[in-house]
Amino acid sequence: MGLEKAMKYALRRSRDATTFLAGGLRTALPALLGTCLLPLVAFLSILVIAIPWLPEVARPLRALTSAERRRVARVLGHEIPEPYAPPRGTSFEQGFALLRTPSTWRDLAWMVLHGYGGLLAGVMAVALWPSILFSLSLPLWWWAAPEGSQSAFIVLDSWHKALTMPFLQAGINILALWWLVPRLARWQAWIAAKLLGPTRGVSLAERVEQLTETRAEALEAHGAELRRIERDLHDGTQAQLVSVALRLGLADRRFDADPGAARALFLEAREGIEDALTQLRTVIRGIYPPILSDRGLPGAVRALAAGQHIPITVEIELEVGGTERRVPAAVEAAAYFVVAEALTNIAKHSGAAAAQVTLRRDGDRLRIIVRDDGKGGADPARGSGLAGIRRRVAALDGDTRVDSPVGAGTTLEVELPCGS
């Protein structure tokens, strides 16, 4: 990666993290308010009289945690499931149940943590950007700044300090934006995912349910695929071959009486066979693109990239522990489909001048990243291409993330589990 590219990437990463942390302020402020009210609720609960009211009190908290789950899910690429059991019994029983379930305490722990931490991180991330400009301009007007003004923790009281310390301060700020802010964003998302998601026991049950669901979806998708192939072969190729046989039969009957007409029928039969072959090729490509068997996933993806209008850089690292292990065929086909569909989308809609395809094996997951420098604004809810990718990836229990800010290109990130 070139230096300019790396810098662009770092800038983007810091910008995205700042946006995320700033968005966190919307949940952090109510969380802080809740934290302030917490002692009151706790006090009333000890007196028992407040217990029937607890479900009412928990409602805004749950609304808040739901908002946070949605916000964090957008960057994580997968939903954070709600850990709550449905309420049962009288309001008194419900109140007690609330006190007993771990999820309440985890919600509260998140509220306190995010109330303080989220506020701090959000304000800091947003303030860091203008403070760089502030520091850089300080040498011009430090003498007019209030007495005792500091830069890099040093009081500015002489020219030589004023000409060095603000640059050091700007450096520190840039370092914080580059290193700390993206990590803060990740931690924030991680904390929310850990505390607001189901606990291990619950999450295993959920996981089984989710796997059952994706398995059912995969079976459904597989069934639909088989039906489509059957229909293509039955209505297309088979019918075509029947008509060829018919023409050959007719040609045979006319051969002696009217060789000219027989010949015309022979030629028609040949055209019919050529059409049938073309159809067969399309069907085969839909089942399993032949280039995947010939060249494996890396070669097939490189061939896809080479066939595009715009230059596509391809980076592929499929080695695990020094040896390249083949990904399961179904995953290979899905990965190929994802890249093909993404490149088609780029060619059709993005107006991009260049794009990048990255395939990486991370442990037992195959990660596919397709990035372009086009006009962005891709909406997975509208584009049928993205919806198709999401379906196909979900059927294999994978994750799909689309990041497409208007005017700043589109990044599609797909993760597919591939056994071990």
Binding site: E274, I291, R295, H309
Partner: protein, 211 residues
């Protein structure tokens, strides 16, 4: 002509031998696996080789690899590669060592015997025969082609397939004079150096499409 064939499907292999011998050619060797190809070509030095892409033992792209390898040892060896499907990347790889005496066709084309034999003849004579499907794949990739008229595109496609002016004129039912006129205009628009020799022209077009 003396011909070496590599094809693993017995029916198709026999069909090819029948077709070629009935046209007066001699099939000097038949390979049905990938590793046999290059030694057979080196031993027999045929006038042209007809190779299937997917062959035992790996059933991947053995034929294509053999073609490229053989051309490294015998650069003038004309090779016609046949496949159930065509892939632009394979064409690019085949043409990388020069387009002279290279053919790459869908197996379906064997059914049009005259055209197939004509393509074989062309390749053996140092010409080029690219499948229309490969050419259209190559052409959709090049966006500057949008400046060409539909007719000029047709002419360009036929030229890239390796046909000469007479064949292009016959296929499009126009006069050879207007074919030359179209070609002049194509070369002007694509900013290619004008060249009258049929073969150098094909090379220029392919180099352009392949860039």
């Amino acid at each position: 002509m003396r011909i070496v064939i590599a094809e693993d499907n017995a029916l198709l292999r026999e069909g090819l031998v029948l077709l070629l011998t009935s046209d007066g050619h001699e099939v000097v060797a038949v390979a049905d696996t990938g590793p046999e190809i290059v030694p057979a070509l080196l031993a027999h030095r045929p006038d042209v080789a007809v190779l299937d892409v997917r062959l035992p033992p790996g059933f991947r792209d053995e034929g294509l690899r053999a073609a490229i390898e053989a051309r490294k040892a015998l650069p003038d060896l004309p090779v016609l590669v046949l496949s159930q499907y065509v892939e632009e990347t394979y064409a690019t790889e085949l043409l990388a060592g020069g387009a002279q005496g290279i053919g790459y066709l869908l197996k379906d084309r064997v059914g049009r015997v005259e055209e197939f034999l004509d393509a074989l003849q062309r390749v053996a004579a140092g010409g080029t025969a690219l499948d229309p499907e490969v050419v259209s794949q190559l052409m959709t990739r090049r966006s500057p082609l949008q400046g060409l008229t539909p007719r000029e595109r047709e002419v360009l496609a036929l030229m890239a397939q390796g046909h000469d002016n007479a064949t292009i004129a016959k296929t499009l039912v126009i006069t050879e004079r207007s074919v030359s006129k179209h070609i002049g205009s194509i070369f002007l628009k694509l900013d290619l150096p004008p060249s009258d020799s049929g073969h150098r022209r094909v090379l220029a077009v392919l180099a352009y499409l392949n860039a």
